[in-house]
Amino acid sequence: MFDVVIIGAGVVGCMIARELSKYKLKIALLERANDVAMGATKANSGIVHAGFDAKPNTLKARMNIRGNVLMEDVCKQLNVPYRKNGSLVLAFSEEEIETLKELFERGKQNGVEGLSLLDKAELKALEPNISDEAMGALRAETAGIVCPYSLAIAAVENAVTNGVEFKRNFEVTDVAFQDDVFTVSSDNDSVECRFVINAAGCFSDKIAALMGEEDFHIVPRRGEYYILDKSLGSLVDHIIFQCPTKMGKGILVSPTVHGNLLIGPSADDVEDNDDLATTAQGLFDVRSLALKSVPDAVTRFAITSFSGNRAHDLKNDFTIAPSKYNTHFINVEGIESPGLTGSPAIAEYVAEILSSMADLQQNESFVGTREKPFRYHTATDEEKAAAIAQNPLYGRIICRCESITEGEIVDAIHAPAGAMDVDGVKRRTRAGMGRCQGGFCGSKVVEILARELQVEPNMITKYGKDSVLLYERTK
């Protein structure tokens, strides 16, 4: 019997799990996929927004502002790469200059600090590679970048270390409530608990509907992206936005915390949550619109492209509240952008809601910091030598492009809520994220996973389900 069951291990679910592990609660975190961060979390812009975009007095605005304040410290505690590099919204016409002024005013109203309007000369001085067509910009110094799935992974590791139970491949199909106890079931498993938190992302309307909720309508909004080679990673220093449209914040060009350049996203509403296909049109739009901001951001240097579905609800705001059908069932629904930014604030807010219904006692043994995993790529020569002396596997480089060692991969597999598939290893260590996209190291990662998990190589998948990589032996 759990006190709290959280449905969905995206960045929001993972951050909630970590936040609640500060209290004496027995918590289970359920995830339908084979790993955390498998929905919108693994495929978004990775932006910590300043907060000028959200409409004043919305939950989006509140969570954004608070999340932005909390993010730096959370990332420090969890050892997640984060950089406060600031953002620029570009204006390409007199009309857009007016939009910048509106955003500036809205930002002030939301309480965003560090906003300023730049003229063309100031903009060019700050970012020389910006298009000459840009006439001015809104600068937001408090915006930053973070690796979204690294944040979710770090949060779940920390949560599990603090006692949370992580259950993967648990796709919730039913929630029953009897005698003050919820029974949350999948097709082949079930857990009982006193409180349920619905953090199911694109599926949060469907999970809410299990309680009778009819007012939530998620229309998954697909965003397609390109990751460009590290040789273009310093083309711009800030996050470069264009003026927002009714479909969202538009196409951005931004460095990533890993040193690549990210361009995207497109924005198209799709019918199927699981439809993660990139499209010729979407990728074309991203390519051409990114060039408008930064003419040298050419996709000839693309490493990969991908798409993610954002949990856009028709009501256009977050819902973070007890269900009106059962107050012990807390919905965290419609979390699209700025959901990543807001995640620490959402977690804090959920704890606050829970504390109004339950007596939350501090977990004295809670440790909020996550030890920094050894990273060959960023270690000094002395650190490398010491690490290899302690564990020779840190001396065997598996992923050539990103200099990832066997030791790091083994660590990722045996970490709390560790990697069980090739993509899980990739997200935790970056093995396979470089230029060759796993061409060389993919088969070695399969071999290491099979050895560490003690299964045959043809049991190893790319990302769970039936995504097998190998069939039977040739002979």
């Binding site: 699981d274 020569d381 030598a385 002396a389 001396g395 060759c436 061409g439 190589p457 790319k462 069939y471």
Partner: protein, 418 residues
Amino acid sequence: MLNYDLVVIGGGPAGMAAALRARDFGIRDIIILERAETLGGILEQCIHTGFGLHYFGEELSGPEYAARFIELVEDQKIEYKVDTMVTDVTEDKVVTAVNKTDGLLKIQAKAVILAMGCRERPRGALSIAGTRPSGIMTAGTAQKYVNLDGYMPGKEIVILGSGDIGLIMARRMTLEGAHVKMVCELMPYSGGLTRNIVQCLDDFGIPLHLSTTVIATHGNGRLEGVTIAKVDDKLNPIPGTEEYVACDTLMLSVGLIPENELTKNIGIGMDRITNGAVVNEMRETDHEGIFACGNVLHVHDLVDYVTLEAQIAGEGAARYILGQKAAAAEYLTLTAGNGVRYTVPQRVNIRSEESVKVYFRVGRIYKNAKVVLTCAGKVVSSKKKVKLAPGEMENVIIPNEVLATLTVNDEIKIEVEE
């Protein structure tokens, strides 16, 4: 800090041949650093035959070709370390490497030979739309799975790209019981050897669809199918020609890219066409004492040519270490004229006492054309060729007596005349 006269980065065919040639020239203090578990490089997984026809005059498999050099390396007691990754080379030739047993290694070299080979172009570089299921892999990755690991990476297979690796894998998978449904080639011609088209595709009735590409992948776990389409003469998909092909595997054989991360970090001048370093006739880069050879310099179609090129680099490095470098070098940059995509070397020392063989590739297929070498406005040679193809490397020799007449202001041009 360790000290060696010559550090060779990469123990494939290029690295081994270069090290052996340097040894022939009297260099004792050599170390080869290889990232894989054995010497031999990519040849270890190329189990088909067709290697060595030029160099050994017989048809060997990849491992056999490699084995001949491995044996010589052992016989000559040339030091090597396997499972060792070089992570950095400085301008002053300090090589940083790492492995499980030695930990972090710093080696001061007098000369360095870059022989890191190449990698395959991955899907990401192609912008194929669709989902990201398992079952999409480069032909080389599939080759490793089936030939070294002994696992079937697919059963119903579509291959994109008709380069030699793609063709070889079509036969290999068929022999192991897979169904190779087709090979699609974006260009109107195949980049592979004719012999491979006949013996790897025709023999097994595998269709080759020219001017055809894969525009989308489908499936949410394992690949379920691909959409193919014809392309126009600008290589853009033609609407209305889309066709769905059910398959569980898409193998990509869409080009090789020299692995020049270390080269670029040193700051060595690069050739935008070859994606390799700019070198002179001894395969020396614009950084004195740093040489490059094999597929890291430019992608070769035959390993025999890799060996020959590596021997030149090995000799160059040896001469450099021994201080036998021509004192008064004067360099001329070659002009790749009409129809010639690139030349290697790109620069030639016109004070060179020996004739220089220049390798080059053409940009498209030519029939009954002439390869013309012009030096200082005079036609030096004009050779008739029944066929020239981008997939087959050509060469032309600049005679030493012609070099002797040139000055740095002259032009050396290689071109195709139709």
